[in-house]
Symmetry: C2
């Protein structure tokens, strides 16, 4: 079997989702860092890998690339305990994955990005606009997590991985989680899953020589 190569940027929550799942699946991989701040995902060489110019990208075999973090999660988790086999439970995993990319990431992850890399006046205005929809997304999660241990069924799945990635660092985007006790308990629960990995860590990922 070919070793996967992950093109990623260490602070990225989207990339972290893949690193976390690969680690929990015990799958070794080659790690290639692309600094998105320095434009390394917009070079002709990288656009040949992903025309959309974004990390993470997983090279499945030489020359065969899959992008979109949640599509990669679905690919890797198939036939593993991280993706339910029940049709309805899988539907709800998908529901959370699309919720994450449409209603959560653009507000919570983007606020963290702006605060970290572009903390200027223009960003402050943008971050202010993201507050209400960001908190609304956290409210949707809280409604579920105040009554259930995990997002789908009663088990840790890729839905938890996808939502955990940016939720647990929401404070870095200026979001206060103290009003969301269900989310806070769930964060603890996710962090105590076997083989947990912290964001920016790359356990199991070996840098490719020359990169």
């Amino acid at each position: 079997m070919t070793t996967y190569t992950l093109y990623d940027y260490r602070p990225s929550g989207n990339g972290y989702k893949i690193r976390l799942l690969l680690t929990q699946l015990g799958i070794p991989y080659t790690y290639v860092e692309k600094n998105i701040i320095q434009g390394e995902t917009r070079t002709p060489a990288f656009l040949a890998i992903n025309p959309n110019g974004r990390i993470p990208v997983l090279e499945l075999e030489p020359g065969l690339y899959l992008s979109e973090s949640n599509a990669i999660l679905l690919y890797l988790s198939e036939n593993t305990p991280f993706l339910p086999t029940d049709r309805l439970e899988r539907a709800y995993v998908n529901q959370w994955l699309f919720f994450e990319q449409y209603s959560h990431e653009p507000y919570i992850a983007t606020s963290r990005f702006l605060l970290t890399y572009k903390p200027d006046e223009q960003s402050q205005a943008l971050i202010a606009q993201k507050r209400q929809p960001g908190y609304a997304a956290l409210g949707v999660m809280e409604q579920r997590l105040s009554e259930h241990p995990f997002l789908v069924g009663d088990r840790y799945t890729i839905a938890d991985i996808a939502l955990y990635a940016y939720t647990h660092v929401a404070d870095e985007g200026g979001f206060d989680l103290s009003g969301f006790p269900g989310i806070l308990t769930w964060i603890d629960r996710v962090q105590t899953q076997p083989n947990h990995l912290r964001i920016t860590e790359t356990h199991g990922g070996k840098p490719r020589s020359g990169d």
Copy 2:
């Protein structure tokens, strides 16, 4: 088998995806219109159906609701010709579905929404910001469609349905498709698939009495 109920708003491209697939699958359904402009998806009754306050929502059986248009597409297409069985092809379907929600819909669909319902000065500034990323998304599609008949493999799948929904009305958001010959040919190809349905049509969907 219970008849599905679709909660939807007729001009919505996200709702149209589901109407189109249900029609092409020959599955009858009950249709309940919720006017998003009039706040009908933010009432307590609707939030009990979808805490995220968005259409479309498919009621799978009484009291059991699935939201997120692309999650609904995946649910309905399982074990049908609209979703490939090959693992890699399914991964690429997912990749396009997440691309649509993250890199396409927020620019192309939202521009159409603003131009249609809020054509004021503030919207014009917002629409201007959405031009570049919207055209970038169309460029990613063009790269694929200038060389292939469909987005995944050589067959019409839910990836085409998901991307077609807002792409074919991109002009209503002020996007000019004339520079995208691959997309234009693909639009024709999608429109000639058996049992095609035009946006805002609800063939096969029967209004629920009382709604």
